[in-house]
């Protein structure tokens, strides 16, 4: 017993959270919802009290599994995952979720958390997949046919990425004999497969659309919870195993730029946020690609801030969806009158994602940009600057403007339930707190921070960029050049598997049927001709109706044997 206890204690906090998921099912509904909030909060002091190092080494089939590796990188991701889980579950109280959804939310967060603390690739793989499977229930819990189909597509992509990860780790293991989850790099055996798996989960360009497809179809609180974990876990995994990989700089730069074009024309405001989530991941991927200490610090702090402000933005749009039944920009507007708190929290989230000075995005994103310019990548830097201005344009202005202001939709919904407002309030306080006083966050980063975000030129330059971006929005609005919000679907890469492959299969099937008919026609025609011929021959005096004499048969057989004999001899 003692040996088992020594192995398992301290247990990976992610496993605690998964155990908590089952406790939440057993408790009565009124207790269970508060348990889901308090339990992750209780795990925070537990996590912070532990020393760095490998806890919980387990032998499994001759492998040494490091089930709980605690270092600066895993601790900060673990901390934000616990905060996000508690906030998400607090918000979910207002959404009145059933126990299944609560269990899924805790298992999902637990899986992601456990994966962060994995010291080897097998543990990582197992918990990554537990998180993937649990998360789909947050989509299916919406219980619509659309959500079911989107969840199915989401699950196929997630499990597909898992299979690629497993293949990569097997290739890596068979060549190197190591399952360690440390720096891998592109040139290691299996390195390309592993980065591909992480890349799919981090929504790399062309593999991104599972995110925009599935997240807006999830339940109100489900989307808030989903926005925190899967992609950031992938960012963590990339930061752990591929820092300084040049390829990631270019991938990340594309990722920051292209989703914002979609965000401008998308009508569903939660889908707009999904596109801007994708864009924010791009900044982190660039930071990992640069790979210097400052760039990695920037990436990690940006992931931390991003989880908070993105959750806050999804929360405010969820409140709108709950109270009005829609999240379409074209149907909303003028809600600030009856939902003033949600409006204010949304604006704080918008200011944070845009990187306004005194808000959280400013102190993290600027570190990545400075790291990029320090390495001299001027092209990438210009793309990131464009993306920063674009974020303000579509997330910072468009989201609050079309939901809460713009034209008066005539909707007069009630303010959000108090638990939702409390969750938004805490997230907003954290966003502003980190922005005003970033030192505690900087102190937790893996490398020493020698970076000062609040310098005169830095603040002024950022304000110039943002205010002129706002000016552009205003001018385009006043001149009516800005595209109106329209009920529409915009084609993205999901078209290829939702329509392209389907059309191909339908086309293939139709042609197969036609070909089949054609062959059948020929065959049946020739068979009936054959039957006719045989009939003619069999009828008197046809050749087949004769009865040959026995003697002639013997002559024929002898002739045949003679031919075979001759063939053998020569």
């Amino acid at each position: 017993m003692i040996a088992i206890a020594e192995f398992l204690l301290p247990l990976n906090p992610g496993l605690w959270l998964i155990i908590g998921a089952f406790v939440a099912i057993l408790l009565p509904q009124s207790l269970s919802r508060w348990f889901a909030i308090i339990f992750p909060i209780l795990l925070i002091p537990f996590l912070l009290s532990l020393n760095f190092g490998n806890h919980g080494t387990v032998s499994f089939l001759n492998y040494q599994l490091e089930t709980f590796r605690l270092d600066a990188l895993s601790r900060i991701f673990g901390l934000i995952f616990l905060i996000a889980s508690a906030l998400g579950n607090l918000y979910a109280v207002g959404d009145v979720v059933d126990k299944l959804q609560r269990c899924a939310a805790l298992t999902y967060a637990g899986g992601a958390l456990a994966a962060v603390f994995a010291g080897d690739m097998i543990t990582l793989f197992i918990f990554f997949e537990i998180a993937a499977v649990a998360s789909v229930f947050l989509i299916w819990a919406r219980r619509t046919q659309k959500a079911f189909s989107a969840g199915m597509r989401y699950l196929i992509v997630q499990i597909g990425a898992g299979v690629i990860l497993l293949t990569g780790l097997l290739v890596h293991f068979s060549a190197t004999g190591s399952i360690d989850f440390n720096k891998i790099g592109l040139h290691a055996p299996g390195g390309i497969l592993i980065i591909l798996a992480f890349g799919i989960k981090a929504a790399f360009p062309l593999f991104h659309n599972w995110l925009q497809d599935a997240y807006p179809e999830a339940t109100i609180s489900g989307t808030v919870i989903l926005s925190g974990f899967t992609t950031k876990l992938a960012i963590y995994a990339l930061a752990r195993s591929y820092p300084g990989t040049d390829l990631l700089i270019w991938i990340g730069a594309i990722m920051t730029a292209f989703p914002i074009f979609y965000a401008v024309i998308e009508n569903d405001l939660r889908r707009v946020l999904a596109y801007s989530l994708n864009n924010q991941l791009g900044f982190m991927v660039v930071g990992i690609g640069i790979g210097t200490e400052m760039a990695l610090n920037g990436t990690i702090s940006h992931a931390f801030c991003h989880i908070l402000y993105k959750a806050l933005l999804f929360m405010s749009m969820g409140a709108v969806l709950l109270r009005t039944g829609t999240c379409n920009g074209s149907d909303l507007g003028g809600l600030f009158k009856t939902m003033p708190w949600s409006t204010s929290f949304c604006i704080i989230g918008a200011a944070s994602i845009s990187g306004f000075p005194l808000f959280s995005g400013f102190i993290s994103k600027s570190m990545i940009l400075t790291a990029v310019s320090a390495e001299g990548y001027w092209g990438v830097w210009l793309v990131l600057l464009f993306a920063s201005a674009g974020v303000f344009h579509h997330s910072g202005i468009k989201i609050p403007y079309f939901a809460f202001f713009a034209h008066d939709s005539g909707l007069r919904p009630k303010e959000a339930p108090w638990t939702m407002l409390l969750a938004m309030f805490i997230a907003a306080v954290l966003c502003v707190g980190i922005g005003v006083y970033p030192a505690p966050l900087y102190a937790m980063l893996p490398y020493v921070v020698e970076y000062q975000p609040y310098t005169a030129y830095h603040v002024i330059n950022q304000l110039q960029l943002l205010m002129f971006s706002a000016l552009a929005f205003t001018v385009l609005m006043l001149t009516k050049i800005y595209p109106p919000e329209l009920h529409s679907t915009n084609l993205d890469t999901d078209w290829f598997y939702r329509r392209g492959i389907k059309s191909l299969i339908v086309w293939g099937a139709q042609n197969t049927i036609a070909f089949n008919k054609f062959c059948y026609g020929i065959a049946s025609k020739s068979v009936s001709e054959l039957i006719d011929n045989v009939k003619q021959l069999s009828a008197e005096p046809g050749i087949l109706s004769r009865t040959p004499a026995l003697g002639s048969s013997v002559a024929w057989i002898s002739a045949l044997l003679l031919i075979i004999l001759l063939l053998i001899l020569y």
Binding site: K146, S149, I265, F386, A389, A470, P483, T489, R498
Partner: protein
């Protein structure tokens, strides 16, 4: 439709808000113009720590932010021509 508009009017009359007044919205817009002008000319008054030479051009951040955002919107608008479909485009799948 007319009832809805009347109800809106009544609601706005009963719950007045300073943003209902068109003049206040214009004031916000003028304030934005003023802030932008001030920020643009603030380039005279501080020392830039540049990594790239183009960063030191006068008003670089302001001009870049404005032009790129206009470009973004026009680009996105053009994308609609190719990519936009009916809202129920995929509905037959499920």
């Amino acid at each position: 439709m007319k009832d809805k508009a009347n109800a809106n009017k009544e609601y706005n009359r009963d719950h007045p808000h300073w943003l209902d007044n068109k003049r206040n919205i214009n004031r916000i817009i003028y304030a934005l113009y003023l802030i932008c002008t001030a920020l643009f000319f603030s380039d005279f008054f501080y020392h830039k720590h540049v990594s790239f030479s183009f960063e030191s051009w006068f008003g670089f951040y302001a001009v870049y932010g404005f032009i790129m955002c206009v470009g973004l919107v026009i680009g996105a608008k053009l994308m609609r021509i190719i990519l936009m479909r009916r809202e129920d485009y995929y509905d037959s799948d499920s």
